[in-house]
């Protein structure tokens, strides 16, 4: 009998853990109370916002980084603005179905005025109409598919990052003009983000007369030695439009193991302290915040909160900050934050500078106006050195 009770308890614990891991249930995680009000009108500036991201599951590494930066932004903004904004998190596991469930929970929560996320373009496609019907602003820090803003189906959607149709050609043109390969290999990781960038780049390579070897490998693979064996002596560049920086690091090690000399060119998903193969290039939609003096305090706090952060955190900080400032401005105008007035304030955002090293202002579709493109080269110490930005 005792054994059965232990088993039942264990099974219950296991199911709870499984539930935490796989469901889209949300929980209140942060309620940073105002530590010093800046004006009498904002002392009672109370609001709830959500964050959707893959906090567990295959790309939890991405979601946890985003969550850490969102919490950081809330903490800093609450202190700076004297607001009391609470963050509610919803785990989507990068799955549109999970994201839909979380969004239904968020939109049915009358206290919630805006949302950060979701992370993936496929998720935004699924939840955009729901947020639109609810009149709730949602800002992503990583969904880059062009259709999200072109289609007109997501009227309350905003993003603080560039689009694939801008990044892909910019990457490809840089490779053609500056690295001048006669033959290159491009490997997608079978995710929408990666295949989209690959499709945007290959025609440009072919038009330039470059022999292109296209490979495809699951994001879940951790050994690339079989593909690396196919990198020929004539192949001077390997393009990795990947989301998992650690995989790019392993690819670089496999190259070294087999004494292959090809240069790796990674896209924004590989921009991370986990990817440090010397001589590699990494393009990004944001700068290295460690190199921006104005970001020093954020970089130090981020280092403490999430030591191995990469490219996914800072844009989410920017997205959260946009919402925080919108709420603060609503309060300062004497109104109580609601979905409608926060949405209007987000639409009217005009930040002269941001953590991303550029102004933040949205066009009528929700795209970032003047989104910059950054290119880094990794030096022998594994540090990212800016090559160019446009």
């Amino acid at each position: 009998m005792k054994g059965r009770i232990i088993t039942a308890a264990l099974a219950l614990t296991a199911l709870v853990a499984a539930g935490c891991g796989s469901s889209s249930s949300s929980s209140t995680t942060s309620s940073a109370a105002a530590s010093g009000g800046s004006s009498s009108s904002t002392k009672s500036c109370v609001a709830t916002i959500g964050i959707e991201g893959p906090f567990t599951g295959d790309v939890a590494v991405l979601g946890q980084e985003q969550l850490a930066f969102a919490k950081l932004a809330i903490d800093m903004d609450n202190k700076a603005n004297g607001t009391n904004i609470t963050l509610v998190q919803g785990d989507t596991q990068l799955d549109p179905a999970q994201a839909t469930t979380v969004t239904q929970q968020f939109t049915s929560n009358s206290k919630m005025v805006a949302t950060v996320g979701p992370a993936g373009s496929q998720e935004v496609q699924a939840v955009g109409p729901l947020f639109g019907r609810a009149g709730m602003a949602f800002i992503t820090g990583s969904a880059t598919n062009p259709d999200l803003t072109k289609s007109g189906k997501n009227p309350t959607f905003f993003r603080v990052v560039s689009r694939d149709d801008l990044q892909g050609p910019q990457d490809a043109n840089y490779i053609v003009k500056n690295l001048k390969p006669k033959r290159l290999m491009i490997i997608d990781d079978q995710e929408v983000y990666s295949t989209g960038l690959t499709s945007a780049m290959i025609p440009i390579f072919k038009q330039a007369g470059i022999q292109v070897d296209h490979e495809s490998v699951s994001q879940k693979v951790t050994d690339f030695s079989s593909i690396v064996a196919k990198v020929t002596p004539e192949t001077t560049v390997v393009v990795l439009p990947w989301q998992v920086a650690a995989n790019a690091q392993q690819f670089g090690k496999n190259l070294a193991e087999q004494k292959k000399k090809a240069t790796i060119f990674g896209t924004d998903g590989t921009q991370s302290s986990s990817f440090t193969i010397p001589g590699s290039y990494v393009s990004a939609f944001g700068p290295d915040i460690n190199s921006i003096p104005a970001d020093a305090a954020i970089a130090a706090a981020a280092k403490a909160a999430y030591p191995k952060y990469g490219t996914f955190g800072p844009p989410v900080f920017a997205a959260t900050h946009v919402i925080d400032e919108a709420i603060s401005s609503v309060c300062k105008s004497g109104q109580t934050p609601s979905r409608a007035n926060v949405l209007a304030a987000v639409k009217g955002t005009s930040e002269a500078s941001s953590i991303l090293g550029q102004p933040i202002k949205f066009d009528s579709h929700g795209d970032l106006i003047g989104a910059k493109w950054f290119l880094f080269k990794i030096n022998n110490k594994g540090q990212y050195k800016l090559v160019t930005n446009t």
Binding site: A11, D58, V61, K220, S226, I227, K230, A256
Partner: protein, 305 residues
Amino acid sequence: MRFFIQELVNGLTQGSLYALIALGYSMVYGILKLLNFAHGDLYMVGAFVGYFVIQWFGGSTALTIPVPLLLLFMFLLAGGGVGMLGVAIERFAYRPLRDAPRIAPLITALGVSFLLENSMLLLFGASFRDYNTSAFIPFSSGIHIGVLNISLTRILVIVLSLVLMIGLRLLVDRTKLGRQMRAVAEDREAAEMLGVNVDYTISMTFFLGSALAGIAGVMAGLVFNQIYTLMGFVAGLKAFTAAVVGGIGSIAGAMLGGLLIGIAEAMISGYISSTYTNLIVFGILIVVMILRPQGLLGRAPLQKV
């Protein structure tokens, strides 16, 4: 030819790890008829134990002990620690359900899998961790002839895996514990009546299977460098496939299945395209299952009439 050998070595490395994990699946299934879905996560725990041993001794770039000693500690602690974890899982999660309908321990195994994954996620975060093996076992060591490059780490993994597999085979075939394991697998009640300590035998089976998974986790860290809390899922799935292809319940079958799948993956990736690796590998699985449902080296179940 050198390209073929390179891909063969790549496949043998991956296949050896599949085989070591598959052995645990197969042993547990053989003795309890339980598909222990938490087994892949034990491999993940082993990889983390190995990582923390490296950190304990100064980190990959500043080791305070000789590399052979470090490797010994990594394998012993991962094997022993994960082996004990396997025993604990059996004792508290599976033993109370030994006589329950088969679906109950199966669901519990899934629960234990999620429990391990999410506990590790909460404890150590979602970040990838890097063994950075080349800092203490340089790529320059090993075999380098023209385009053929086989690192010492890969040689170590293949050789150690073969030694472990042969050792396990000898243990099962030639020791008292092995006879007890075979007896329990054949007929648990009859073995008990003949004086076999069934609980002890099952615990030892879990210990051995889990220890092999833990050691495989360390090997994966050494050769593939990057470890993370969900790394056990795909590896476990492939190893389970290997166990089924080889004939679940058969130790030799698990070894054969693991090596076959690893080599097939490398050859398909090398000679056809990595795009089709899973498609073809699982296509082969379906063909094998249709032609030989009991697996390559599995025994067809006896029909009692």
